[in-house]
């Protein structure tokens, strides 16, 4: 025992000496930015692509001299798209790592969950793809002071889907299958119903299931009996794929439609190809001419295609954030929020970005309709403003 104690004491001394003699080079002046992203879990395909794109743009900004000479350092944490985990992670970002701003998350639920943390710490957060309107607008109608986003919102998405169904597909009757346990799904369904009925269509069946269920054939059977022209399935890829597969098994011939949750390429494999022919709303399409350079660069760097729209949104968010930081000279807090709010006609990857100070949403964000066709998402149409 005595020997052991002595040994340990020596070890302690030795290692503290070692630790003292080569301190890591003091980090040069950097601006720390947090990245809250789902790298594992059901949303990982988007999240990993988003992290790649963010690395690309940050490297680019830094190689061009950073923000007024200061380098940008991104600290990435995995949220697993889990709300409680995200709360802990954002606490760590704002209190331990002292980031000046946060990029992400991509999920409305996560953005709402962490709202109190980043807002009370006055750390601006730019959501990449949280499309629920409540993310940036409080119940009293005022904008959430430190939360912004670069994507469109669900009422617009729902409206676009409904208009496309009515005008382009000539649908009169629509059936709906949504996830009652998921706020994104629940609200998107609601907005679609409102817009579809306003445009003169009728909802023939409005069915729901619980998160985690696998078999929707009972609900789909009811939808089939109501004989709709389109079936709107505003869910993530997993449930959309299951619904498509089971709808085909039941012999449903109506066109399937969905929202931006569909846009993961694995949806083809998961649905056994049954998703083919379906249309969905997305934030961006690979065919968009303005992003071809980005896509090429991404492909050469990561040897894969980006999973849209998250990489684009993170890219845009970073350009926007860097621009705002330039104006505040790297300062965060209230000033940065103001600078973000005051952004007008900023050239970002997907176009010009103008913030609406009243809602913290970008103005004039287009929505594209894509069709799932033979294992690829094919661009169909762009909708601009409501």
């Amino acid at each position: 025992m005595k020997h052991l104690v002595r040994l340990v004491l020596i070890a302690v001394l030795l290692s503290s000496v070692l630790a003292a003699c080569t301190p890591p080079a003091a980090t040069a002046q950097t601006i720390k930015i947090g990245h809250l992203v789902a790298l594992t879990g059901g949303n990982a395909t988007w999240g990993q692509s988003e992290a790649n794109a963010l690395t690309m743009i940050v490297d680019k900004i830094n190689s061009e001299g950073g923000v007024n000479g200061k380098k940008i350092e991104v600290i990435t944490y995995d949220s697993r798209a889990d709300k409680l985990e995200a709360v802990n992670v954002v606490k760590r970002m704002v209190e331990q790592d002292k980031v000046v701003a946060i990029i992400g998350p991509g999920q409305s639920g996560v953005a709402n969950a962490v709202r109190e943390v980043n807002n009370s710490a006055k750390v601006p957060m730019i959501g990449t793809t949280p499309t629920n309107p409540t993310v940036t607008v409080q119940d009293d109608g005022k904008p959430v002071p430190y939360t912004f986003r670069v994507c469109f919102i669900d009422p617009f998405q729902g409206t676009v889907a409904a208009q496309f169904a009515l005008a382009d597909l000539g649908a009169k009757k629509a059936g709906i299958l949504y996830d009652v346990g998921d706020e994104y799904s629940q609200y998107l369904a609601k907005y679609f119903v409102e817009a579809f009925e306003k445009g003169g269509g009728t909802i023939t069946a409005n069915e729901a299931f619980r998160s985690g269920e696998l078999d929707f054939r009972a609900q789909l059977g009811k939808i089939k009996d109501s004989n709709p022209d389109v079936v709107f399935v505003p869910t993530m890829n997993k449930d959309a794929a299951l619904a498509a597969k089971q709808a085909r098994d039941l012999g449903i011939t109506a066109t399937l439609m969905g929202g931006d949750g569909w846009g993961s390429p694995d949806i083809f494999e998961l649905s056994g190809g049954a998703i083919n022919g379906g249309y969905f709303v997305n934030i961006a399409a690979l065919e968009d001419p303005t992003i071809q350079d980005f896509i090429k660069e991404y492909q050469t760097k990561y040897n894969a295609e980006p999973v849209l729209p998250n990489p684009l949104m993170a890219y845009d968010a970073m350009i926007w954030l860097a621009d705002a930081l330039k104006r505040t000279n790297g300062e965060g807090g209230e000033k940065l929020a103001k600078a973000l709010e005051d952004t007008k006609d900023l050239q970002v990857l997907t176009g010009k970005l103008t913030m609406d100070p009243a809602t913290h949403n970008p103005l004039n964000k287009p929505a594209v309709i894509q069709q799932a066709k033979d294992g690829k998402f094919v661009y169909v149409k762009t909708f601009v403003t409501q």
């Binding site: 594992t40 879990g41 059901g42 990982a44 395909t45 697993r80 009652v180 409005n206 069915e207 729901a208 299931f209 619980r210 985690g212 269920e213 696998l214 078999d215 054939r217 009972a218 609900q219 059977g221 009811k222 089939k224 009996d225 890829n237 997993k238 794929a241 299951l242 085909r248 098994d249 039941l250 012999g251 694995d266 494999e269 998961l270 649905s271 056994g272």
Partner: protein
């Protein structure tokens, strides 16, 4: 509409039945609920995924056999790791349950941490899938799964009734102590039991993977199968089958019901678990079972 609902219910129920048989088989001899069965089913599905899409690229039937074997072996290992020490110590069934829960949590999250939460689909067996059946539509896959489940359960019955091991298992289900006194090695018997239950679970996992998809938390669905087993009476094989199918039918019917303007589909789990609670309280033997008091 009604016919379609029944067809759907039967198809959901047949998968429940296949899983429920695994619960009942273990329960009949060891008199406890093997709550690690869900993890075994999940891993069975992953084995099939691995050999069908990642390595070897086996066609369906060989893959099914491999994953049944794999799941059987996993079930056997689970028994060794989680149960055997406790069984030998005659620990209360609470301990076995905690151990099973530990194994399930660990296995499921090992999948999350290594393979990840990605969703996978097993390649479809049939390309053109539906058959018109009166006013209802059935998918070939459903018929296939149904027939296969029945064959598997029939084979199991044959094994139990006409082989030495089967006789020993049936004897043990009446009195496991007596069997061990008579010179049957109970450990070997339990190993065979778990191999059988596990491979049936693996089969259920593969069917789930083909019909739905493969992901780490798919084992959750086995809670429903457990309810099926309880409805039929834990420990009874015909009970497990009938119970599983009844539960599938019930769920399908509840899902299409509307009461007072409220769609019951989102309340489906309340019905399943509600029935479970009522049964446990008022008829713990289920429909066919022989309820055995827990040893104090």
């Amino acid at each position: 509409m009604i016919l379609q609902t029944i067809v759907t219910g039967l198809s959901i129920g047949s998968i429940y039945a296949l899983m429920a048989v695994g619960y009942s088989l273990v329960f009949s001899v060891l008199n406890f609920s093997n709550f690690a069965h869900g993890a075994v089913i999940t891993l069975g599905a992953y084995v099939a995924w691995a050999v069908m899409t990642q390595y070897l690229h086996l066609p369906f039937l060989p893959a099914l056999i491999v994953s049944m074997l794999g799941a059987g072996i996993i079930a056997f290992i689970v028994e060794r790791v989680a149960y055997s020490t406790l069984r030998h110590r005659r620990a209360p069934s609470l301990y076995l349950m905690i151990s099973a829960m530990g194994v399930s949590i660990a296995l499921q999250n090992v999948l999350y941490a290594t393979i990840g939460a990605n969703l996978y689909a097993l390649p479809p067996i049939f390309t053109q899938d539906s058959i018109q059946f009166g006013t209802a539509v059935i998918s070939r896959m459903d018929i296939f799964a149904f027939v296969f489940s029945i064959i598997a359960i029939a084979l199991l019955t044959v094994v139990l009734n006409y082989t030495k091991v089967g006789t020993a298992i049936r004897a043990a289900s009446h009195d496991s102590e007596m069997v061990s006194v008579l010179g049957v090695n109970l450990d070997v018997l339990v190993a065979v039991l778990f191999l059988l239950a596990g491979s049936l679970g693996g089969m259920a996992g593969v069917f789930m993977g083909v019909k739905y998809m493969v992901y780490p938390s798919m084992g959750w669905i086995t809670n429903k199968a457990y309810i099926g087993a309880v409805i039929g009476g834990l420990g009874s094989l015909p009970g497990a089958i009938v119970g599983g199918i009844l539960l599938g039918l019930l769920e399908a019917i509840v899902s299409v019901s509307v009461v007072g303007g409220v769609h019951l589909s989102t309340f489906r789990d309340v019905f399943s678990f509600g029935i479970l609670a009522l049964l446990l309280i008022f008829r713990p033997t289920g429909l066919f079972g022989r309820y055995v008091e827990e040893k104090l």
